[in-house]
């Protein structure tokens, strides 16, 4: 995927420098430096326990809720320091949406799932506004045609793939700038996976997407940039094409060719 190199290099959306994460004093990340560019899909790959999910959760401070988890270093989104003590985490999470590994819709109606975010952030004035946001979000998540007749049905009655797209709709309903995806397809069958992958490709136009995946084919299919994590370090980061065809690091090569991991 060729883009205007100067443009992207000059304005990273997320700039991580020396991010260190410790759980109970044990280091999970040893200083991550990573620039993530807007309107691209950045894939984070690596063996289990390498810290890629931990890094993802640093971006919207989801690690805050874990006891004894300490994050140090500097992480900027545009001009905002994410770990500035003054920052409002709630506002940050409205800017940085997240989709989780297992589809986790609220045990409420489809409508209420999507409407929840806009409602708590007070994004709408009236019911019509809300209806419009719900419709728009479901359309963008490619779910509208399947659920338009049953918006008041329980979200848990949907299939796994539909539930995951509902979670994506829920995340984009608050109009975030960044979308974090933590192995969004690992609980889905291949058909649902390909639908989500297509969706990710479309969503790239509006959002900056960071996706953690275990599937290297998926990383190759959906992403423009790829970062390879190993034991809490980022080993190699670059254009997806380069990483998969001409990895510079031998560890990366070993991993993508299936020799470790």
């Amino acid at each position: 995927m060729k883009r205007d190199g100067d443009m992207t290099l000059s304005t990273p959306k997320i700039k991580s420098s020396g991010i260190i994460v410790e759980y109970d004093g044990k280091r999970a990340l040893h200083g991550i430096d990573l620039d993530i560019y807007p309107n691209e899909v950045t894939a984070l790959i690596g063996p289990s326990g390498c810290g890629k999910s931990t890094f993802l959760r640093c971006i919207n401070r989801m690690n805050d809720v874990i006891d004894n988890c300490k994050v140090s270093g500097r992480l900027m989104i545009d001009d905002t320091d994410v770990y500035d003590p003054e920052i409002d985490v709630v506002e940050l999470r409205a800017r940085v949406g997240m989709v989780f590994q297992k589809p986790n819709p609220f045990p409420k109606s489809i409508y209420d799932n999507v409407a929840y975010g806009p409602r708590i952030h007070g994004l709408t004035e009236n019911k019509d506004d809300m209806d419009r946001i719900v419709k728009k979000s479901l359309k963008r998540a490619g779910l509208w045609d399947e659920v338009r007749e049953r918006l008041d049905d329980k979200a848990l009655g949907l299939s796994g793939g539909q539930q995951q797209r509902l979670c994506i709709a829920r995340a984009i309903a608050v109009n975030p700038e960044i979308l974090l995806m933590d192995e969004p397809c690992s609980a889905l069958d291949p058909i649902a996976t390909s639908i989500i992958e297509e969706l990710i490709n479309e969503l790239r136009e509006r959002f900056t997407i960071v996706i953690v995946t275990h599937s290297m084919q998926q990383a190759a299919r959906v992403s423009q940039k790829t970062g390879y994590f190993h034991l809490g370090n980022i080993i190699e980061y670059g254009e997806t094409n380069d990483i998969f065809t001409r990895p510079k690091n031998e560890q990366t090569e070993a991993y993508i060719s299936g020799r470790i991991g």
């Binding site: 999470r93 045990p107 975010g117 979670c167 829920r170």
Partner: protein, 427 residues
């Protein structure tokens, strides 16, 4: 050769395993059967004992209510109503059935057939319909508890007169009334509609039942919000450190504190220090709320912990604040468990007597309490007091009281199950 020997060893081992499983199943079944048997004997015995208490014998008499006794417009005046000798009126009516009896002791014996509260039946009738003043009406008058027991066959007629609570003369009167078809066996509604009394044929559970309801109301109002809030704080918000660990251990220990200790605490703190009223559902409810708190806190914490973390993550992920996560998502999902724990705690409290002993709720209360600061007693205390009564008729009443309490608790548990099923959500 070795193959076959391992095979037989294996099959032997397998057989042994099957036998062990069968044995275990048998023990389990035996345990359940014996538990069910004991329960059946207990409940069956109680039910059988309580049956006589649910009916009572009445004598139907024509009562003349002369206009001289009371004016129709005075019926609503309690003082005037109290002045009327209703008791004398019904006794006279019964004596009229036996014109041949003229001696004093005979007349007294006839009067003693009736319950001490028989006059109230006429009074209530007049109160309901003042137009009957000046006419003669048929009224069903309750018989005394001894006569009632005799008619139910619970007093042996073949006993010697001096060993029998009903004299030979009284027997002839009763037989005469029965022969003329004046005696009627009816459902003893007074068991539910009147308060306690020294007379078995007038004593009912109403004041105790209302007392229990009021006490439970106070218990619920204090223990539910306090318990749930404490549990939410401990489970969701409090940092995990030594202090919260200590609190947790103490809450668990509190669940094992003997209930009489809570009663003493109530006496010392609520009554002696805060000067709250004695024998009142307010204090009783507060004491029982203290007792119920650990149950509710433990149940609520378990219910909160059982909410899957994915729901919390989902809510946090769209930007809900920690408090919004709790109140929008976690708490509603934990509600069935919380309600079940609360109702089980309340049911436990409803059956509690010891702490109420200390704050004066083990009391002879005739009037139905109207509010939480009135004097009141509760069902288990009422049962205990009836069990202490020497009159034979209270035996059946005690059993009936126990049955009523158990029905009450059964209903509460049924409510718990219903609520859990209704609000249970699957994810």
């Amino acid at each position: 050769m070795t193959d076959r020997s391992t095979q037989t060893a294996q099959s032997k081992h397998l057989k042994k395993r099957y036998r062990a499983e069968k044995r275990f199943k048998f023990f389990g079944l035996a345990a359940i059967c014996s538990a069910a048997g004991i329960l059946l004997v207990l409940i069956g015995g109680l039910t059988q004992m309580s049956i006589p208490a649910f009916t009572h014998h009445y004598v139907k008499l024509d009562i003349a209510i002369p206009e001289t006794t009371i004016q129709a417009e005075q019926v609503t005046d309690p003082v005037a109503m109290r002045k009327v000798n209703w008791r004398g009126m019904v006794r006279k009516a019964l004596r009229n059935e036996f014109p041949e009896v003229t001696d004093r002791s005979g007349k007294r014996a006839i009067g003693n057939l009736l319950s001490g509260g028989a006059g109230d039946a006429v009074r209530d009738k007049v109160l309901n319909d003042p137009t009957i003043i000046g006419s003669t009406v048929e009224v069903a008058l309750p018989l005394s508890d001894d006569v009632d027991l005799l008619l139910k066959g619970l007093i042996d007629r073949s006993l010697l007169e001096e060993n029998r609570v009903v004299s030979d003369r009284e027997l002839t009167f009763i037989d005469h009334l029965e022969a003329t078809g004046r005696i009627d066996r009816r459902i003893a509604w007074f068991l539910f509609t009147s308060g306690d009394s020294r007379e078995a044929e007038m004593a009912g559970l109403r004041s105790a039942a209302v007392g229990t309801l009021l006490t439970m109301l106070v218990t619920l109002l204090f223990s539910f919000p306090l318990g749930v809030m404490a549990a939410i704080y401990l489970e969701e918000i409090a940092p995990k450190n030594r202090l919260t660990d200590l609190i947790e251990v103490n809450i668990n220990n509190l669940a094992a504190v003997p209930s009489i200790v809570f009663g003493l605490l109530g006496l010392a703190v609520f009554i002696n220090f805060f000067h709250l009223p004695r024998s009142a559902p307010l204090v009783g409810g507060m004491v029982l709320a203290l007792m119920t708190l650990p149950t509710i806190i433990i149940a609520t914490r378990a219910a909160l912990a059982a909410v899957p973390p994915s729901i919390r993550e989902a809510a946090l992920g769209v930007g809900a604040s920690p408090i919004q996560v709790i109140f929008h998502h976690v708490l509603p999902l934990a509600m069935p468990g919380i309600l079940t724990g609360t109702i089980i705690g309340l049911a436990q409290a409803a059956g509690e007597t010891a702490p109420l002993l200390m704050i004066g709720m083990m009391a002879f209360i005739v009037d139905t309490p109207m509010w939480i600061n009135d004097k009141a007693t509760v069902l288990p205390a009422q049962i205990y007091m009836w069990a202490n009564n020497p009159e034979r008729a209270f035996q059946a009443k005690t059993a009936a009281g126990i049955i009523c309490l158990m029905v009450f608790l059964l209903l509460m548990n049924a409510l718990a199950i219903y609520l859990r099923k209704k609000y249970e959500k699957r994810w």
